[in-house]
């Protein structure tokens, strides 16, 4: 623990916000030290080993010289090590403002939306707050429909270094937008994303995680939805040695709807963890979760999701669906779709399945002259495409497909 403090002291000169920000950063670090690293059997982390996070990571900025991925047909905002680089970023369409979080930090700790749910990645949220050095505040004005997707391209970082960023997304009343997070970083990326979708607004939030093979990724997503608000979240997880995505969603307004889907593809010793909590707090809300795992090598996939319907969440309709395909004998999948329901006027269902590729389907394809590895790639690709097809924007969908195709060529033989 003292490691993190030592890093804090050594790097505090470089912290954004200067002396004004030191007080709340100190508080956050103290909170982290109080909580300590989770014990090996801590419930929230029982399937996710945290050995790689035991040592402190250097928080000083590192130079970046790689090629920045871009998505054609989208508005790319490039963040190098969490810091917005205007020279690489595109012009914004009308109705959207993107400000660099740095500008705000000297005025106080970044504000979370009112009613934002708690973190599922504790205690690393406190670490994020203590070291936060970048990110964005994205606001979509009321009644604006933004056609072009806004892509936050995160690059930079280096092994042994950590980048702590926060992206705060707010859609005002009846706004509509697609916000994408494209991750291509190295080292530890500890990211907090909050979304605040006001009444009748519609947010498509897509996370394409293609970090380096040795990267560690901690994503802390917190969504809050107003009346008749809609959030469609899709997570495509390909990169990182260890990736934990904690998504806590609160359906706060009557008639809100949230669909979360994801696909995680693992090879080597990768570890993909999606931990979710969906809270139905208002009446007549709908939520759907659809997650698919494709796991080869010695990789491990974790899906742990809790659907909570509180006493006030009457007429809730919730589903959870998780399917995993294990491509090798040594791959491992954990699936925990959980329901916690405190009222009787609900419809909730969940399902999970873990198995291997269908032998009959493989045989069928072989019989038609398709070689074994192509057949396997087609079948696994089909599973991934079930999820990718949920992405409404064509440019983003195509980019996600390209990433998955490349992964399949490399990993499925």
């Amino acid at each position: 623990m003292s490691d993190w403090r030592a890093t804090f002291v050594a790097n505090q000169e470089t912290f954004v916000g200067g002396a004004h920000a030191l007080a709340w950063r100190e508080d956050a670090l103290a909170a982290f030290e109080d909580a300590g690293m989770p014990r090996p059997k801590a419930h929230a982390w029982k399937h996710t080993p945290l050995k790689a996070l035991k040592t402190a990571f250097n928080a000083a900025p590192v130079a970046y010289s790689g090629t920045t991925p871009r998505i054609e047909g989208a508005v790319n905002i490039v963040l190098v090590g969490g810091v917005v680089d205007p020279s690489q970023s595109d012009a914004l369409p009308e109705g959207v403002t993107v400000t660099s979080l740095q500008a705000n930090l000297s005025m106080g700790a970044p504000a979370l939306p009112t009613d934002a749910p708690a973190t599922l990645n504790a205690p690393f949220d406190t670490l994020n707050k203590a070291f936060v050095n970048g990110g964005t505040v994205v606001t979509v004005a009321k009644n604006s429909t933004i056609e072009a997707p806004i892509v936050l391209v995160h690059v930079g970082g280096a092994t042994g270094h950590a980048v702590h960023v926060q992206n705060h997304i707010r859609l005002e009343r009846s706004a509509k937008a697609t916000i994408v997070e494209l991750w291509a970083m190295d080292g530890l990326a500890n990211a907090l994303t909050t979304t605040d979708t006001a009444d009748n607004a519609e947010l498509h939030h897509i996370v394409l995680q293609n970090n380096g093979p040795e990267a560690l990724f901690l994503a802390d997503h917190r969504h809050v939805l107003g009346r008749n608000a809609r959030v469609f979240g899709t997570s495509v997880a390909l990169g990182s040695l260890l990736a934990r995505v904690g998504v806590h969603t609160r359906l706060n307004g009557e008639g809100a709807e949230c669909d979360l889907s994801g696909v995680y593809l693992g090879h080597g010793s990768q570890h993909h963890d999606h931990t979710l909590r969906m809270e139905h707090k208002a009446p007549n809300c709908t939520s759907n979760q659809r997650f698919r795992g494709i796991l080869g090598g010695k990789s491990r996939g974790v899906f742990s999701s809790l659907l909570v319907v509180t006493e006030t969440g009457v007429k809730a309709d919730g589903t959870q669906d998780n399917r995993n395909v294990l491509l090798s004998e040594t791959a491992r999948a954990n699936s925990e779709p959980m329901l916690e329901i405190y009222t009787d006027d609900v419809k909730a269902a969940h399902g999970s399945a873990i198995g291997k590729l269908d032998d009959e389907a493989l045989f069928y394809m072989r019989a038609r002259g398709i070689d074994a590895s192509t057949a396997r790639r087609m079948l696994t690709g089909g599973i991934a495409r079930e999820i990718i097809a949920d992405i409404a924007d064509e440019a983003i969908r195509t980019h996600a497909e390209t990433l998955v195709e490349a992964w399949l060529l490399e990993s499925v033989a």
Binding site: R332, S335, I341, A349
Partner: protein, 477 residues
Amino acid sequence: MSQVQDLPIDQDYKYGFETDVEQDIMPPGLDEDVIRNISAKKGEPEWLTEYRLAAYAAWLEMTEPHWAHLKYTPIDYKAISYFAVPKRVVLDSLDDLDPEIKATFDKLGIPLDEQKMLAGVAVDAVFDSVSVATTFRAKLLEQGVIFMSISEAVHEYPEMVKKYLGSVIPVRDNFFAALNAAVFTDGTFVYIPPGTRCPMELSTYFRINARGTGQFERTLIIADKGSYVSYLEGCTAPMRDENQLHAACVELVALEDAVIKYSTVQNWYPGNKDGVGGIYNFVTKRGKCLGNRSKISWTQVETGSAVTWKYPSCLLIGDDSVGEFYSVAVTNNHQQADTGTKMIHLGKNTKSTIVSKGISAGKSTQSYRGLVQINPKATGARNHTQCDSLLIGDLCGAHTFPTVDVRNNDSQVEHEATTSSIGEDQLFYCRQRGLSEEDAVALIVNGFCKDVFRELPMEFAIEATKLLAVTLEGAVG
């Protein structure tokens, strides 16, 4: 002097009477001396005393688990009397049984009388801490089937008890199992010899009677190669405003090709409508499918207890072994249940089926908690889990916490679950055909539970259906 008292009984719980029999009760409290005392009173061999003391030492180091979705007033383990025995207990024949106890069991409808051949069920009755009567023993022994109280088995078949006691549930397994191993007073021992199909249903009836006691029984069933046994378990307790602890252990061992079918109708006193009193039912049940092609099937109907904490499990060690779990749990008023199962697949081509139906009404909460683990060597393993919850009333809760852990790619695991209330269209349909609302609910609930009830032996299935109706009385309308 003593008599079975016809206390004014709450209609909801007809087994709530208390029997006034002379008891030999140890003062409350637990230490090494109490354990030595229990052991001495039962004339146990040295190894068993040591076993108990080791368990007690382990228990002292352990802490009570609180991960379950349950809220209850803390248990004062020092206030419990760990030994209560009806005084006239040494029996040569059933005629010697204390008439009060016999009357109690008659009242409960337990066929203790061997004359009642029609019943066709061999019964071991456990009253507070000791087994008071075992019927049909001689007849069973003709076929080599051993059916007796575990205290007798310790003396008559010490080697067998020593070999298997604690082999499925080790002393350090969990807090309540350790406590049970330290203080268990009686229970049932069953051994089915190779190639034998047990000619009748075996049954144990548990009754907590004395005030301020806990019940800690231990059941050990061993089915040798190629044998079959069906075993039933029933439980009741008087109505009291105190919470009594029931911490039992059940160990099953199935050798090659053996089949054990274990059915429970649990009807401990659930407490009154305001949640006062009732039994804390903290039970560890586990079966080991040790031999190839062996099978263990758990069927349970849980209607009683204030708080239930129970996860009958199967360790599927032998190749091609099969584990099954069929459960109906009903909670009403302030009852709480956290129940489910664990299927640990270790052998090749092992299969397991889980069907769990939970019904919550009133202000009760209920959780299904399950683990399906497919280990690397368990290739070709298969599991299907179906768990459904039905909610009646807007103040109850139903939760589902399944865990699936698959560590090889040659297995197939599926889990499905639903949670819903009784559909208004279903109710309307029944009402339209002239059924009262209560009858309609009973009909729908019985249909919901059918998958499990058909796994029960017939007599039990009828009892279970009735119990369900009683438990849910007043839950609608």
